[in-house]
């Protein structure tokens, strides 16, 4: 047992850190660190920089652009990326549809889609959730009927993140209505330009436009857009949901936020002293840091354990990462709100363009404090709510 990084691991950390902080424009990274929305162009630009380096899809098979990194290296890559404010490669492409196609797709599908997904030539979005289904994903009702060489899709998806930017969508459809819940579901790819697809924005409480409803009205796509076997789409979904559980804790993101909070708390003054000298505030900050340090160690323990595990069969302990990681991320938003104080109150509309037209009303960072607090409540809801995570741990680890 040696709880220190090896010199090789240290060197790797330095390498990725250097790259992230020099190759990716600071303007993009600053926006990420301040919790501002990025434009489509910024996300694409950043991912292409990584892809050029060969680092957009390290988790993919090597033949499709992946790396042979150890789990510790993957961890260091994510940690440094998050700390530097480098936008993560678009998850729908790199952690979801990409690995699914690489695992279950035909050779033709691989050739057609993988390189484009890695380079964000195609922007993918995820057609899983439906109104009324929520955590009970398998109760989905969007159906695809086989008609000749095509699928005809009807139904509705919701919470579809950034569908407004998307070129393609991967959709879970019910293809056998008489089979039991998880059986009779298929995983189908649709070009967003296909007639019959309509995207309606959902405005979130922070005033942002991140998610959408996607309607399918007699949408016809080629039969060959099916990934894997007909009626076995649940296997793809499970595989997809099981991937990349360690990044979920976003330890690096929380690290960067806590550092930023500490910096700002040195600048903000309460009476005649900096906020950081307020005993209560300092102890609250320290308490979150301690939880985060513990989570980082927990993550490393899980990472170390990954070597022996099968791909797509995550360590159920990774539910801890989701549970604690979400709570810690949310705690950082509460601290930031406190730092901003009264200046968290003005609402400044942000647009999709390059920054804001109007100047803000207080310090720059303050405008994002409340929207981020509001928006990040989603973290304990999406991707399997924290209640679902507790059910998983209760069953898979505690044996209830």
């Amino acid at each position: 047992m040696d709880l220190k990084f090896t010199p090789e691991e240290h060197a790797f950390r330095e390498e990725v850190r250097h790259f992230f902080r020099t190759a990716v424009p600071e303007s993009i990274r600053r926006k990420v660190l301040e919790g501002q929305h990025l434009t489509r162009q910024e996300i694409v630009a950043s991912q292409r920089i990584l892809n050029e380096k060969g680092w957009a899809v390290p988790n993919w098979p090597v033949e499709w652009g992946g790396q042979t990194w150890t789990p510790v290296q993957v961890y260091l890559y994510q940690d440094e990326m998050q700390q530097a404010g480098v936008p993560a490669p678009l998850g729908f492409n790199t952690s979801m549809v990409g690995p699914v196609i690489a695992e279950f797709g035909s050779q033709a599908q691989k050739q057609r889609f993988l390189a484009r997904a890695a380079n964000l030539d195609d922007w993918w979005c995820q057609g899983f959730s439906e109104p009324g289904a929520g955590s009970d994903l398998a109760s989905l009702r969007t159906k695809a009927e086989r008609v000749g060489d095509t699928w005809v899709i009807n139904g509705q998806k919701t919470w579809t993140t950034l569908a407004q930017h998307a070129d393609w969508i991967f959709v879970l459809c019910r293809t056998n209505p008489t089979a039991k819940k998880q059986e009779g579901i298929s995983f189908i790819l649709c070009d967003m330009k296909t007639p019959g697809i309509k995207v309606r924005p959902i405005e979130t409480i922070d005033g942002g436009h991140e998610v959408n409803e996607v309607f399918f009205d007699d949408v016809v796509v080629p039969y060959e857009n099916l990934v894997g076997q007909e009626n076995k789409g649940w296997d793809c979904a499970k595989f997809l949901l099981g991937n990349e559980r360690t990044g979920i804790a976003r330890v690096g993101t929380s690290k960067a936020r806590l550092k930023r909070i500490r910096e700002l708390a040195k600048l903000e003054r309460v009476g005649d002293r900096p906020l950081i000298e307020d005993q209560k505030f300092r102890e609250k900050l320290a308490a979150v840091e301690i939880e985060l340090k513990a989570l980082e160690m927990t993550q490393l323990r899980i990472v170390a354990d990954e070597r022996g595990r099968q791909k797509g069969k995550p360590n159920p302990a990774s539910s801890i990462l989701k549970l604690k990681g979400s709570v810690i991320q949310q705690a950082t938003t509460e601290l930031m709100l406190e730092v901003a104080g009264p200046y968290a109150m003005p609402y400044v509309a942000s647009d999709e363009g390059d920054g804001r037209n109007e100047p803000g009303y207080g310090p720059d960072y303050a405008a994002g404090a409340a929207p981020t607090y509001f928006n990040w409540r989603k973290i304990s809801i999406y991707g399997g709510s924290n209640e679902i995570q507790r059910n998983i741990v209760a069953k898979a680890i505690l044996g209830f």
Binding site: R269, G341, P346
Partner: protein
Amino acid sequence: MDFDFSDDQRLLKDSVDRLIADRYDFEQRKKYANEPDGWSRDMWARYAELGLLGLPFPEAAGGFGGGPVETMTVMEAFGRGLVLEPYFATVTLGGGLLRHAGSERQQAALLPQVAAGELKLAFAHVERQSRYDLQDVGVTATRDGAGWLLNGEKSVVLHGDSADKLLVTARTGGSRRDPGGIGVFLVDATAGGVSRRGYPTQDGLRGAEVSFANARAEDVLGDPGGALPAVQRVADEAIAALCAEAVGGMAAMHALTVDYMKTRKQFGRAIGEFQVLQHRAVDNFVALEQARSMAMYATMMAASDDAAERRQAVSAAKVQIGRSGRHIGQEAVQLHGGIAMTMEYKVGHYFKRMTMIEMLFGDTDQHLAVVAGGGGLF
């Protein structure tokens, strides 16, 4: 000790509750928010008609002589309705300053206009550096003949954009954080040297940044260097009112959540059948009732002339409201799931309003420090 309403109080409660039920559902509220001021002039007229805009004013000044219980009743209903109009800014803050710092002449001149719905007020006290400290005042007021000239900037002036007149704390002497040397000045919002930038606040209400460049005050309320005690008293009354508003909002959020749990189905049954969610709803209920209790306590103590005792009680209530409000708000969102994250659903708006209330007139930690600095609540 009597928790029942008097007949008059019952009448008031029924009429305000009915008004909110009839005219302030979520769709109506959206419409009001889209009006030019960001709130409804029509509703404002109705409040005037019902006597709400003069409720806490002396009868001599065209008011109804209502006390903290009456204010609690109105604010709780307004909390339920997520009311957008500048009632708190005009009646509680502006009216409160006139009541506690203004002369009889000033009250007689202005309060009847407020009660009639003809005069909207706003209280400009926050500054860039002051955070929640009422005595941290950098805006200056200097003598100019018989009058005063104001210079400096005020931040996050609630409903400052639509106010007709501003009540502004300004320094006539002492250094930036001295308790002495602070006056409350009455300034016409359209006077020369006053400029305002209005904006929506995170909860869908309105605020403004206001700057003064040799702006001439119309008048000063009471002692130009000794207004702080009155300002603190108004702040205490305001906090009691906010506590009541918050209880209205929390109760509505809690009720929405329980209803949603009974109808929303997951895994083949209503999510309200899951024991773990039931217990969390119970914890919300307990948090709500504790908050309601403390809002009543603050109401009871808000009229106290003993400033130290009043402050302890009001701060204790603000802490409870802050904690319960945050807990219930976060849990309401979590128990609803994604739907609560959308603008189209009401719960998120309550959540946002609770968040802003926690930040008004001092946050939870600041008030906890006040209670901790006292000699104990018992």
